[in-house]
């Protein structure tokens, strides 16, 4: 079924390509006679016999030529070359993400108001990411999104990686935004150990981005998590900034009210691996973060705080000292030592865990400085290290993984393929069972320094989104941790059933329009600003998200109160003003209303 669908899109793609080709050909045919009136006129004037008739147009032609002897034909030709080509907006198709597709249609129509032809080319996600990420000079602009992950709680992940010039070639700066002033700010914030000063720098980064509009930020979605308030004490269901109620802190603090002491949660996507060195999908990480401890954890406020580390102290922006918490034990009863900690950070440095390698790549050295202390020295000043590495790397027992990694180093496969029969961590939950495509069961580790209040944590994989609501009413589930259905329906069901409570949060992630600055006209900040003024974000939030989103003006979510710059001047929705802005910066429109580049700039990318 899927195959025929893909085939169809490919055929559609070819068809649209043919249409684009022929319309361009037509446009140029139509343009030729008007662009070269003078030569035909003079030619016609030369032969004497039909001179009376032909003479009539000849004077006007010569008049024009006389008024501007050399520039007029050139200007006419130039005008044609200045017309901005048809821009191709790429985005996900309806089957991949209906909302992204709707936003794409909306955007294409909005941009047309500037006098540009825009065509939306929708495709499946795999094809889209292949184009946008790996063929960086082949696309104009795209509907894109950043999903909210806990490590993105630190603004560095978004502000540095997405916009710093060092990641233009094959990193996250897929739009090719290059600005030395911005680079300096982005570098400064990651080297600033004083939190207050760093906040200031982070806000300056956002202000500069707001000025330059490399992205048109659309919105942050609302995330709704529903729980059964007759089973769980409402005050113990915690909301994590940008992440929502389904978070680590809820799982360790949720207090059962009565006899139902098991939390039964739901996910649509299944768990594919329970491995501290490999995560294949989002759901895998729900499980790994509970089984394995980390030196730090992202708190409910979005900031990293010591967890398995008793103390995390920066000696300078490149050096951090760790003191390990005393008395921790692995699930097999052996004590957690500082050697285990050092091993955990060294393990991904080789080639056995490529997925975690980037998170330890900044470490220059780790040295044991005492029975329960160690020192990390980084290659460059990097304060986000707390969020990006210390709160990310799973602590693993050396006595289990050292022999495994040694054995694997002689084989072609790596640690990603290794599945422990009973995964052993030191985290607040212990592994009990995993039934493929059905459920994962964990139980509270009562010996943990922050032992959960619930008895067991059971994650069910439910393929039918409509059934999730019924199961919640009937008590088969008591926490909706994943919901793929209509959010409006979810909220109305919650209102009908007093047993149910909802926790709504603005997500960390965001949806936006990314413009490829490698390709004009997107290289011009004024063009991007004018385009941005055409997008009615409020209409998108109301029409496409049914109000379950908030308008965005920064890549940083407003839920990250510490980092979000709430003083950014809003961009007005005003097409007239946008056109005026273009006019003020040299843009013009041809006789048919098509937008043209400022004088001196011609279209080089038209086919």
């Amino acid at each position: 079924m899927l195959k025929s669908h893909k085939k169809l899109t490919r055929r559609e793609f070819l068809a649209t390509a043919a249409i684009v080709g022929s319309s361009i050909a037509l446009a140029s045919c139509g343009a030729t006679p008007t662009a070269t009136p003078a030569p035909t006129a003079t030619k016609a004037a030369a032969p004497a016999p039909t001179a009376t008739k032909a003479a009539a147009p000849a004077p006007t032609a010569t008049k024009a030529a006389a008024a501007a002897p050399t520039t007029a034909p050139a200007a006419a030709g130039d005008a044609k070359a200045r017309v901005i080509r048809k821009l191709i907006l790429v985005g996900q198709d309806q089957g991949s993400d209906a909302k992204e597709f709707e936003m794409g249609k909306f955007t294409a129509d909005a941009v047309k108001q500037l006098g540009i032809d825009v065509e939306l080319q929708a495709m499946p996600w795999e094809q889209l990411s292949d184009l946008v990420w790996y063929q960086r000079d082949k696309w104009d602009f795209t509907m894109w999104q950043m999903v909210g992950r806990a490590e993105r709680s630190d603004p560095d992940e978004l502000l540095y990686n997405l916009f710093h010039s060092s990641t233009v070639k094959d990193g996250y700066n897929f739009i090719g935004y290059i600005k030395p002033e911005y680079d300096k700010l982005a570098e400064a914030q990651r080297a600033e150990t004083d939190p207050a000063k760093r906040v200031e720098l982070v806000k300056q980064c956002q202000a500069m981005l707001n000025e330059d509009q490399p992205y048109v930020n659309y919105c942050h979605q609302m995330m709704d998590y529903v729980y059964n308030n007759t089973v769980w004490e409402p005050s113990t269901i915690l909301d994590q900034a940008g992440i929502g109620a389904k978070n680590f802190w809820t799982f360790i603090s949720a207090k059962p009210k009565g006899d139902q002491k098991d939390m039964v949660l739901v996910s649509g996507p299944v768990v594919t691996a329970i491995n501290p060195l490999y995560i294949s999908g989002g759901t895998d990480s729900w499980v790994t973060e509970l089984i394995w401890d980390r030196l730090m954890r992202i708190g409910t406020d979005g900031l990293a705080k010591p967890w398995a580390a008793e103390k995390v102290q920066w000696a300078d922006p490149k050096t951090v000292d760790i003191t390990l918490r005393q008395g921790m034990k692995w699930h097999d009863g052996k004590p957690v030592t500082i050697d285990d900690v050092i091993f955990s950070f060294q393990a991904p440095m080789g080639d056995e865990a490529p997925m975690y390698k980037p998170f330890v790549s900044r470490i220059d050295s780790i040295t044991k400085t005492g029975d329960n202390t160690c020192r990390f020295v980084l290659k460059t000043a990097y304060v986000p290290f707390e969020t990006a590495s210390l709160a990310k790397i799973n602590l693993i027992p050396k006595h289990i993984w050292e022999p495994v990694l040694k054995d694997l180093s002689t084989k072609p496969e790596n640690a990603e393929k290794y599945q422990e029969k009973v995964p052993i961590g030191s985290g607040p939950f212990k592994f009990v069972a995993w039934k493929q495509s059905e459920e994962v069961t964990l139980e509270a580790n009562t010996e943990h320094f922050n032992a959960p209040k619930m008895r067991r944590w059971v994650l069910r994989f439910v393929a039918n989104p409509e059934a999730v609501l019924g199961m919640m009413h009937s008590g088969e589930l008591n926490f909706i941790s994943f919901y793929a259905g209509d959010p409006a329906l979810l909220l109305s069901e919650v209102q009908k059933d007093p047993k149910l409570s909802v926790v709504s949060t603005i997500e960390l992630g965001s949806r936006f329009l990314a413009m490829n600055e490698r390709r004009p006209p997107f290289d011009d900040v004024w063009f991007r600003k004018a385009l941005s003024m055409c997008i009615d974000k409020q209409a998108i939030v109301q029409g496409i998200y049914k109000g379950r989103a908030v308008v965005s003006n920064s890549i940083i979510s407003p839920s990250m109160k510490a980092w979000y710059n709430d003083k950014l001047p809003p961009i007005p929705v005003d097409v007239k003003a946008a056109r005026q802005l273009l006019k003020d910066h040299g843009y013009d429109w041809d006789s048919s209303g098509k937008l043209m580049y400022p004088a001196g700039k011609t279209e080089t990318l038209a086919k």
């Binding site: 990420w133 094959d170 299944v270 294949s280 393929k417 069910r460 039918n464």
Partner: protein, 333 residues
Amino acid sequence: MKHWRTIQLIAARVGERLLVLVIIATILFFMFRLMPGNPLVAYISPTFTAEQQEALMKAFGLDKPLSVQYFIYMANLARGNLGDSFFYKKPVAQLMGELLPNTLMLTVIPLLLAYAFGIVAGTVLAWRRGSKLEGAGIIYTLISRSAPEFWVGMILLTLFAFKLKWFPASGASSPGVIYSSFLHQVTSADFWRHLILPALTMAFYLQGLPLLLMRSNMLDVLEEDFVTMARMKGVSEWTVVLRHAARNALLPVVTAMALGIGYTIGGDVVVETIFSWPGLGRMLVRAVANRDYPLAQGAFFVLAALMVFMNLVADVMYYVLDPRVGRTKEATT
């Protein structure tokens, strides 16, 4: 001499089926490779550098020319190696093995229910030909054949799981229930409570074929001379219908069931999705959607092989059970 002929015929059938399998494997291989987009895009994070990507391509053998990949694939297949899933990082055979028992239960139980009911009801309807009962029965059968499974499933779910709360709505066991073995699982009441709604949904759809088949066979057989003969002998109606007619009419129904197992073994994607049944059907859908080539290819191949095998079984059964099949073969050759 007669024996030799049988073996020859069966051997020819087996040969044909092997060829079919080779063709299936080839089609599957190229089908997945020719889909647009790089398979790794779905698999790797865009943070990977070009070098990391190349290393991965190499690790999966995707850097080799398609023809070389094809021969490696076929050689592995011949050795029974279906490869490793991209996402689970586990052997395809193991992943399928884990879900096969669940799928088998959701195949065999509904088929047995459907055929048991269909055979009885078909017999009754043929026997009561022309009655109001037959009219109602035919309408019922047509409804059951044309009602979409997702609709029937959702109705059962709403009624029995959400309104009456008699049965659970998802999975093959209650949350957190752990079984020591498959035997332990299938002998537990909990498992059957979970199986009943999806099994009924499937059986409701499946019953139409045996019912109609049995009915029309019965109608044919009841017209036959030996039945008239039996009636003339004064044998009781009961004996005529059951001993004489039904036994003869049953033959094609039994072979249809063998085929039915082959068709249904792939897991019923719709029913598995509605009831979140942990079976092969859902795994297949995910594998295709995620472009988990090895898993999708391997799973499709095994299912196709099972279907081909059940076809062969049906063929052989026909040959063994119905002497006329053998005779026509002999006559044509």
